[in-house]
Symmetry: C2
Subunit: 369 residues, 2 copies
């Protein structure tokens, strides 16, 4: 920091320069974030200075959070479910481990996760001294539920299933895992950070939500397929008594206890998430998701026409292929197995897919061996 400040015009000239160094979303095919919907940005601005860490000061903002939770309860088929907003999937998953670990009074807790689980579980388990037991995947990149059952012991406090995996866009066999969790009396958490705003809008999608009686909690991120502003996560719980043993006293705030992990937290992105869901409604969300799934199918067909085979037919809008390089300036990503991975977010339009396929076709040289 210099002694003298920079005039606003010079500051924003500089900031524009830095912003232009970022890769534009027009060529980002690797991210589960997207350009937020204009109503999310407008609502974010309207609530920019609100702090839901002290909700008694912001009862209007807090009422939007309540609506959002009720909508997610309805969407996930348990109108009586409880929930809270978070900064995203990592915090949601940490919160689940906090309450499952403390409920059971287990001395050396462990959890079962699929090999496809997001790396946030490694962080959370390391931090909380929880052993992470990794269940292998089947040939469709879904958690092998029989192998998962074999990993359970009396210290297992949680089974994690993923709905819309980060790498392959698959959904674990939640009904089968539910049976196992129910028999053993173990909490079943569904990490639907990505799929939670996709699967409810697809006909004949795999079951993953509270309609499966043993599902105890579901996380979903509005800043992914909810087209909202960062940071925005939602953690839903079938029984909100879960949260009771997370409560700490919060002196000098307008509420006397809180169970959230963070203290000060933005109302702005909660308003953003509310705005998108209110504005699009279920029909608008379905139309958005339908478009992303159609683009995903078109991409897979287009790549297969070049002889690049899909790894799997995904449950959500994540397409994966055998390893192949793509031309600049397109930004793709590769899975731990080095498979090509492309996420067909809302900013990845049909035109964008067609441009990518043209560029890919011009640069691709098939193996001749």
């Amino acid at each position: 920091m210099d002694a003298d400040g920079l005039p606003a015009d010079e500051l924003f000239c500089y900031l524009t320069g830095r912003r232009n160094e970022d890769i534009p979303y027009t060529h980002i095919l690797s991210s589960m974030c997207t350009i937020p919907h204009p109503v999310a940005v407008k609502a974010h601005n309207q609530f920019m200075d609100t702090n839901l860490g002290d909700p008694g000061l912001f009862p209007g903002t807090a009422s939007l959070e309540d609506h959002l939770i009720r909508w997610c309860a309805d969407l996930f088929q348990a109108p009586g479910a409880g929930g809270c907003t978070t900064s995203g999937g990592t915090e949601s998953n940490i919160q689940v481990l906090r309450f499952t670990k403390s409920v059971n009074g287990i001395k050396k807790p462990n959890i079962i996760v699929p090999a496809s689980a997001h790396f946030s579980f490694e962080k959370a388990c390391g931090m909380m001294d929880i052993e992470m037991r990794i269940a292998p995947l089947d040939d469709q990149y879904r958690m092998d539920h029989e192998a998962a059952a074999g990993l359970i012991d009396r210290n297992t406090c949680c089974i994690v299933a993923v709905a819309g995996t980060t790498e392959y866009g698959m959904t674990d066999p939640v009904p089968a895992l539910g049976k196992i969790a129910g028999q053993e009396g173990i909490h079943l958490h569904v990490d639907a950070a990505f799929g939670g705003f996709v699967l409810p809008f697809i006909d004949d999608a795999p079951a993953f939500d509270f309609s499966i009686p043993e599902v105890g909690s579901i996380s979903v991120d509005p800043h992914k397929m909810g087209m909202s502003t960062i940071p925005s996560g939602v953690l839903m719980v079938r029984d909100d008594h879960c949260f009771n043993n997370l409560l700490v006293e919060t002196p000098y705030l307008t509420t006397k206890q809180a169970y959230s992990l963070t203290g000060t937290r933005p109302g702005a992105s909660v308003a953003g998430a509310y705005a998108v869901m209110a504005h699009l409604g279920k029909k608008g969300m379905k139309a958005m998701v339908t478009g992303c799934m159609e683009n995903t199918r078109r991409l897979i067909e287009g790549m297969e026409a070049f002889g690049i085979s899909r790894r799997v037919t995904p449950d959500v809008n994540v397409a994966t292929f055998e390893h192949v390089e793509v031309p600049k300036p397109w930004v793709v990503s590769y899975t731990r197995n080095q498979d090509l991975r492309i996420v067909c977010m809302p900013h990845v339009t049909r035109d964008c897919i067609e441009s990518f396929l043209v560029d890919f076709g011009e640069s691709y040289v098939p193996h001749t061996d």
Copy 2:
């Protein structure tokens, strides 16, 4: 969520109604948040869709984070210090406990915190199975460093000092705690979430930063006295090797490892924090802090003129008094000891203080016993 969406004009009419139910900052005297500076809001919008969880996509935004860290290193008098941005003080404190706990290889770790420590330490310790040992305060509401020394044993992995306590605005005796930490080889963390952007701009302020050789880390929140947008925290460490044992593999992102606690995280509020510091410079920050401190003194004098005595003369812009009720619509808070507490944030202007004193004087009935 309804089947049909709400048109944008109806949506924003509804949102305006909810926003108007929030208490306006004009009457909030209880919060450590404030109205963000206009340059923070403008920069936040310019970087709204950036995700620093995947910094390779956003190198321009990431460069602002680097600048912010360098400025904080300079401000806290250790130009070679490392650091990272976080969602706020709670996450910063959790990160410190993550690396201090894992560095020492202690089986049953404990930390020493002052009785004035923020409630986030209770959450973090509960989650991470760390025993929290509470050192009492002296008559000036500062940590009793001799009592703290008496709580140390071979399982102590961290001593926490606070610079600008949430309740009384005091700064713990960091130099004395530094000597103790140095003798025992224990990490000393300074929670300067509030005071970190106040004390450097006050002449003759108590020492709290890296100029004390034993201070290992300092947290500060731009969304408090940095006048930036929520969520915005910074964690500074004297030696950034601290972060090494927090690293996890991050497949399918543009970077291969990350040590942050959260995954997706906003670049927008980092740009906001950068913008305020760039635009105000050290002189502008000092002018802002000087105004807040003058208003704090005026408030204390005004209340004492009514016979309401201060609890302590604060190091930062937090004023506390014997318990007394205040008239509506002013929103104040009370400490755990039921003392009246008023935070003189930048939105609490001199006019605001004078209006409050007039309203208070009209409603106050002195005890006659």
